[in-house]
Symmetry: C2
């Protein structure tokens, strides 16, 4: 994604908490519930004419003025979706918004409002909440969404962030997972596997950090994949490109769980199969280098890694020329009859059934 | 609230888990993420024409057809909002929906869709998830809302439920917290303090249960206040009564944190003060009896207890006759100039400033 963002310093700086001067740490109890809400929301600006009333009542009020409304909701849980040891809280707030907004783009819709709820233990200070909200607000600015509500409460353990995001679209533009047809081409935006390898770097440096706290983490040279993991972007630009080029995907999904399970969602809901060409999957050079270092097959990173927040879509073959030589798109396969299943055509020319991963947490 | 609901057995049966035969306990890992979602949502029915697409895509799609949209979101956290020792999970699912829908009624709007996200540790089995979803679905039936989406994920500790609910209203019907005017009357629905005293009963029996596990909990005779705590209802009927009687409140809020802080929200946002008459606060007889047993002032239960899910509203004095002798409404005071502050007129004739409580958790 080449779009300029408004934040000054977007490079991730993980594993550096506690270095240099001690930051201020104020318990949330000093402000109380309503004081904290006032503080966190003081600088919220509303931009959309669809936002009639934002934070501060029992509910927000919207006027979608005859457009269709799309709504999606996601949860981010400490220890499952993020590790506080190497996740800067501002990036966490940013990523929570981006991951949720990505679902709205996956409907070919334009995000409008977000609602952010936080449950957090007493180890999270006012300054920690400020950092999370700072990231949320930068994301709201970059993606032009209004922070219109939420809930703020305590928890006995950790931090849970729940984000609900609304979007609008004309009925004829909305793109479901269920519209893929036999012979459609399979297209993906950007490159895959980077977020997963960024996570491997962070996990490696965490292990070193825990064993040798004085050793500085080695994060240089991994900027791209660390950013993919810690401060990803959603493909706002792709929705605009679709409008410019007159592209209407037949089916679309965002890649949050990995290419494999997203492909299987499209095939299951469309009642079709697919053939994915392993040699067409796009990677950044840094992804390939780090995969080599870790001795991980980059295909595994793309298929099962997740969190790339790229868009996967299908297109009638007649529209092939619109995406063929476009730098943001890669054709990675095509849709087949349902009986043929969801398969991977390997570099060696073999065909394997794809498998979905979903959670690995239980 | 007298409205009939569709559930067969609505009486709370807390502190009884583990009695009798051992229930089936299946780890969620046996189904995996997508299997669990399929199971929990298999019986979801969509009723509203506004729900174009519910569960199963990146986002739900709604058509609000020119009506204004209201959205509210709430979180329910284990150990903060509920104690699994005495909270039946079906009631928990029901209460999470009701508490969120109550915010939509507080806007004088009609609920349409809900989105339920769950983060839960491995101590929660498939059967536990089934129970929570059973309660959610009964609430959806009773309040005529469509379960249209959500997220399901694991957590290292406990259970967090996040509920987002949408509603629709004509622009001219929406009631904000900010519309109260000097001389308006203050009206509350139903009775107050019951949910708080229900909680005191449950906490007492939990202490006894933990010390003497063989002693049967004494819950008989407390049906009303236990139901207020464990399986409350939202005031759907009041919105219908408003429409029937041609009542448009000047300001409204639901009572989730206690009468005191809700009054202060209305006064702060409307730029007014109020005088609350202590002797007018409505109670159920069981509430008064149990308050007496526990030696707690019922006024404290009403002011700071919360979770009553009644509606508090203000009304121009010209509409006084519409509510005066109505069994669902009690006039408890009136709006004053801002300089006079938010005050309680005690039974003894003294005036005290009200204080908001908000959380007590940190």
């Amino acid at each position: 994604m080449t779009e300029e963002t408004q934040e000054e310093n977007t490079s991730p700086q993980p594993l550096s908490q506690g270095e240099g001067q001690e930051p201020t740490k104020t318990p949330v109890s000093e402000l109380g519930e309503f004081g904290l809400i006032d503080r966190l929301t003081a600088s919220v600006k509303l931009n959309h004419s669809s936002t009639i009333k934002g934070i501060g009542d029992d509910a927000a009020v919207m006027d979608f003025d005859g457009m269709k409304t799309v709504i999606s909701t996601d949860m981010y849980v400490e220890g499952i979706h993020f590790d506080p040891v190497y996740t800067p809280l501002q990036h966490l707030g940013y990523k929570a918004v981006v991951g949720s907004i990505s679902d709205i783009y996956a409907m070919n819709a334009t995000p409008q409002q977000i609602f952010v709820s936080l449950a957090f233990s007493s180890k999270y200070t006012i300054e920690a909440m400020d950092a999370i909200y700072a990231g949320i607000q930068v994301a709201c600015d970059n993606y032009k969404v209004d922070l219109a509500g939420g809930d703020t409460t305590s928890a006995l353990h950790g931090l849970v962030i729940s984000v609900t995001v609304t979007g609008i679209a004309k009925a004829e533009d909305i793109t479901y997972r269920s519209g893929a047809k036999v012979h459609d081409i399979l297209v993906v935006t950007g490159d895959l596997g980077g977020a997963y390898l960024g996570l491997q770097i962070l996990e490696r440096e965490k292990r070193i950090f825990l064993e040798h706290p004085t050793v500085r983490p080695e994060l240089e040279g991994f900027d791209y994949i660390l950013k993919r993991q810690l401060r990803p972007e959603a493909r706002k630009d792709i929705i605009e490109i679709f409008a410019d080029l007159g592209i209407k995907p037949s089916a679309m999904i965002d890649i949050s769980d990995g290419l494999s399970s997203e492909l299987m969602h499209i095939c299951k809901q469309s009642g079709v199969g697919c053939l994915l060409h392993e040699d067409k999957i796009p990677y950044d050079n840094q992804t390939l280098e780090v995969a080599h270092t870790f001795k991980i097959d980059p295909t595994v990173c793309a298929l099962n890694g997740g969190e790339d927040y790229e868009l996967l879509f299908t297109l009638p073959v007649a529209q092939h020329d619109k995406v063929m030589n476009h730098p943001d798109f890669t054709i990675i396969g095509y849709i087949t009859e349902a009986e043929e299943g969801c398969r991977l055509l390997t570099r060696a020319g073999n065909r394997h059934a794809l498998e979905a991963q979903g959670w690995k947490h239980f």
